[in-house]
């Protein structure tokens, strides 16, 4: 399954670490030759820079987590004024640091992100001290609003993803705690979230195509946003298929939005912005939809004879996933050919 036969010429085979290790492990080259080849292919002249960034990001993540844990402990020995002022100093320090180091550099960007996290800590501690009785959605709403300004100027993909996470949590909590939708409208939340995350993905693709922001071009941003959006769109579709008789209007509407979204994702990542990982995620989501339909049909047809139902479900699963694999393999080859 995980290998396939090909015929290549030496010029078509990329030289990489795998190839060198293969030669060395089969005794075809000496240790010195291996070292020479690896240094040739990967001149490790960026170690210092890479380690520096690793230390900064992990160090900052640990410091911030430690601060969150500390305030979650709610240490009685620290007075409320001390708690609030220390966090405020932290936020101001981060912002001054971000300005000082500039947002074009990783240090400034990490400091800005740290400031965003500390805003949330401040809101939580404020609520803890004054027992404001505010709903949780208000905390996330204010957090999202306060962080929006510097997110807009951050030029930092991680800051944007962080802001999107806070905003998604705000929308979900607001829907449950304040909007108080009727049963008929409850599943509209999937539509709203699909629009929010889908818009973020669309903007990411637009600005990447326009070459407007280099920092947006990191591929992981596309993968994260695609998977999140597909997952949000998939839920109402599966709910609709599972119990069509009890599906509310909001489930159906969100389901339709989800199906359109899947179609759009397929079209864009197959034809407009070819990307195998995003296409594979869309195809996997499609497989789950087809499986749900098939399972539902077999369940309705053979609910008294479970054995036939499970046999057919198993065979259908093999068929669906085999087709998906064949399709993706074929598409991957076509994409390579189109880009040669």
């Amino acid at each position: 399954m995980d290998t396939e036969k090909h015929s290549y010429t030496l010029e078509q085979i990329p030289a990489n670490r795998g190839l060198v290790e293969e030669l060395y492990s089969h005794g075809k080259i000496t240790r010195e030759a291996r070292e020479y080849a690896l240094n040739l292919l990967y001149p490790h002249n960026q170690w210092g820079l890479w380690i520096s960034r690793l230390l900064l990001t992990i160090g900052a993540a640990l410091m911030l987590s430690g601060v969150v844990y500390l305030f979650a402990f709610n240490w009685a020995k620290i007075t409320p004024a001390m708690k609030l002022s220390s966090i405020q100093f932290g936020i101001i320090g981060c912002l001054i640091g971000a300005y000082f180091f500039s947002l074009q550099r990783i240090t400034g960007q990490v400091l800005l992100l740290s400031g965003s996290v500390l805003v949330g800590v401040f809101m939580a501690v404020f609520g803890q001290i004054y027992q404001t009785g505010a709903d949780a959605y208000q905390l996330f709403m204010m957090w999202s609003l306060f962080a929006l300004g510097w997110t807009l100027v951050s030029n930092f993909a991680v800051q944007w993803i962080f802001w999107l996470v806070i905003t998604n949590i705000f929308i979900v909590l607001w829907w449950e705690q304040s909007a108080l939708p009727t049963k008929e409208m409850k599943s509209m939340i999937f539509t709203y979230m699909a629009i929010l995350n889908g818009s973020a993905l669309a903007l990411r693709e637009y600005f990447t195509l326009e070459k407007a922001y280099e920092w947006l071009e990191a591929r992981w941003t596309r993968v994260v946003l695609t998977i999140a959006t597909l997952l949000i769109m998939l839920i109402p579709i599966v709910m609709w298929i599972g119990e069509p008789g009890r599906a509310t209007k909001s489930v159906m509407l969100s389901g339709v939005v989800g199906l359109i979204g899947h179609g759009a994702a397929y079209y864009f990542y197959r034809y407009k912005l070819p990307d195998m990982w995003s296409l594979a995620a869309t195809v996997l989501s499609g497989c789950i939809i087809v499986e749900s339909v098939g399972f539902k049909i077999f369940y309705e047809m053979f609910r008294r004879t479970h054995s036939i139902m499970f046999l057919l479900m198993g065979l259908m699963t093999l068929g669906v996933f085999t087709y998906a694999i064949i399709y993706l393999r074929k598409t991957a080859k076509e994409m390579v050919a189109e880009h040669v």
Binding site: T9, T30, N45, L56, F73, A280, F310, G314, T317, T322
Partner: protein
């Protein structure tokens, strides 16, 4: 072009090696072309195949149970049917061949599903027969050893090997009969896993067939570290035993120092100033930090050194999962956890500022060479 790709092709590389007098003749060209004929499928296709086989195998097991072919109360029947399915899976793989056709894809998917069903039935049967968690481990070990070299599918090799290691950890942590020596066994098993992972991941002579096994060890180490993050006391109700993370920290800190030496090109390179500083940092982290932090750094450095994105991603994902689980560890107070996290953060940031102060954080020349 991905930054993990290079501007060279195999012909360029051979030319360079030839020019330096490392190789002669055309035997390498034939070898490379021969090896490349069997190209690995991308990870997303393997993941898709895995999901499909998992769902299909659940359906088939349920079907067999519904028609009465397998009876969960009869262990022998389960074992025999398990072996039949495993044999069938191997047969299907042989029949499927290596061509890129619909028949091949379908047979391989069917084969993988059969293998999953067969292994599940076999393990369930032996587990019931021996009526012990160690029975499950034994069954997993036996079936994995039997199929590893015969059934050439990396996702099956990885999952089976990982299942063996995972079941050993679970048994050590929660088995009722090993009360009193739980800490010793867990630490010993961790050390063994660590040594195996280190050899498999860094030794140049390891064959491609063992890559799934090396990943199984790496992921099992992650699982062990995550257990220690979420709990400090293990065992059964009323007989919990504390497993302090000190030994694991020591192993991981030592491993990190060795990894720095390996990545720099040899243990003797550890005498270089940047690596002395890095080693002191690793030891400091070993003293004050938590295993999750050390393993995260280790995986990311190893991934960068080996140009393996999967290890870097595994390290990057381990960190938030560790921080999340650590929060809910009720055996340590939030204040202690906060101190550990802030202390570790300070060590790392201090290391970063030292790098910057020395000017080693600029690209161009390796800091070790500097």
């Amino acid at each position: 072009m991905s930054k993990y790709m290079t501007k060279y092709n195999a012909a360029n590389l051979l030319e360079q090696l030839n020019r330096k007098g490392f190789v002669a003749g055309s035997c390498l060209s034939d070898f490379i072309i021969d090896q490349q004929q069997e190209k690995k499928l991308p990870l997303y296709l393997r993941a898709l195949a895995g999901v499909g086989a998992f769902v299909a195998s659940l359906c088939f097991i349920r079907f067999l149970s519904e028609v009465g072919i397998i009876n969960y109360k009869h262990e022998t029947g389960l074992i025999i049917w398990g072996l039949i399915f495993v044999a069938g899976a191997i047969g299907l793989q042989q029949v499927a061949g290596h061509d890129n056709t619909v028949k091949h894809s379908f047979f391989m998917q069917y084969s993988f599903a059969s293998m999953a069903v067969g292994k599940a039935l076999f393990v369930f049967g032996i587990g019931r027969m021996l009526d012990s968690g160690w029975g499950v481990t034994l069954a997993l070990l036996v079936i994995t050893c039997i199929t590893y070299h015969i059934y050439r599918m990396s996702i099956d090799r990885f999952l089976s090997s990982f299942a063996v290691l995972f079941s050993i950890s679970v048994n050590i942590l929660w088995d009722r009969d090993i009360g009193g020596s739980r800490e010793l066994l867990f630490n010993g098993f961790f050390l063994l896993q660590f040594a195996c992972a280190a050899i498999l991941l860094t030794h140049g002579k390891i064959k491609r067939n063992y890559i799934p096994l090396s990943y199984a060890f790496a992921f099992s180490l992650c699982a062990s570290v995550l257990y220690l993050s979420s709990h400090s006391e293990f065992g059964y109700w009323g007989h919990k035993e504390l497993i302090p993370p000190a030994f694991i920290n020591m192993v991981l800190a030592g491993g990190l120092v060795a990894l720095f030496g390996w990545a720099a090109g040899g243990i003797e390179k550890l005498k270089a100033e940047p690596l002395v500083i890095a080693s002191i940092g690793a030891v400091l982290l070993g003293l004050i930090s938590a295993p999750g932090i050390l393993l995260t750094i280790g995986l990311m450095v190893l991934g960068y050194a080996k140009h393996e994105k999967l290890l870097i991603i595994a390290g990057a994902l381990l960190m938030p999962v560790f921080i999340f689980l650590y929060y809910y560890n009720i055996d340590i107070s939030l204040l202690q956890k906060s101190g550990i996290l802030i202390g570790s953060g300070i060590v790392l940031l201090a290391g970063r500022f030292y790098l910057k102060h020395k000017g080693w954080d600029e690209g161009g020349v390796s800091c070790v060479q500097k």
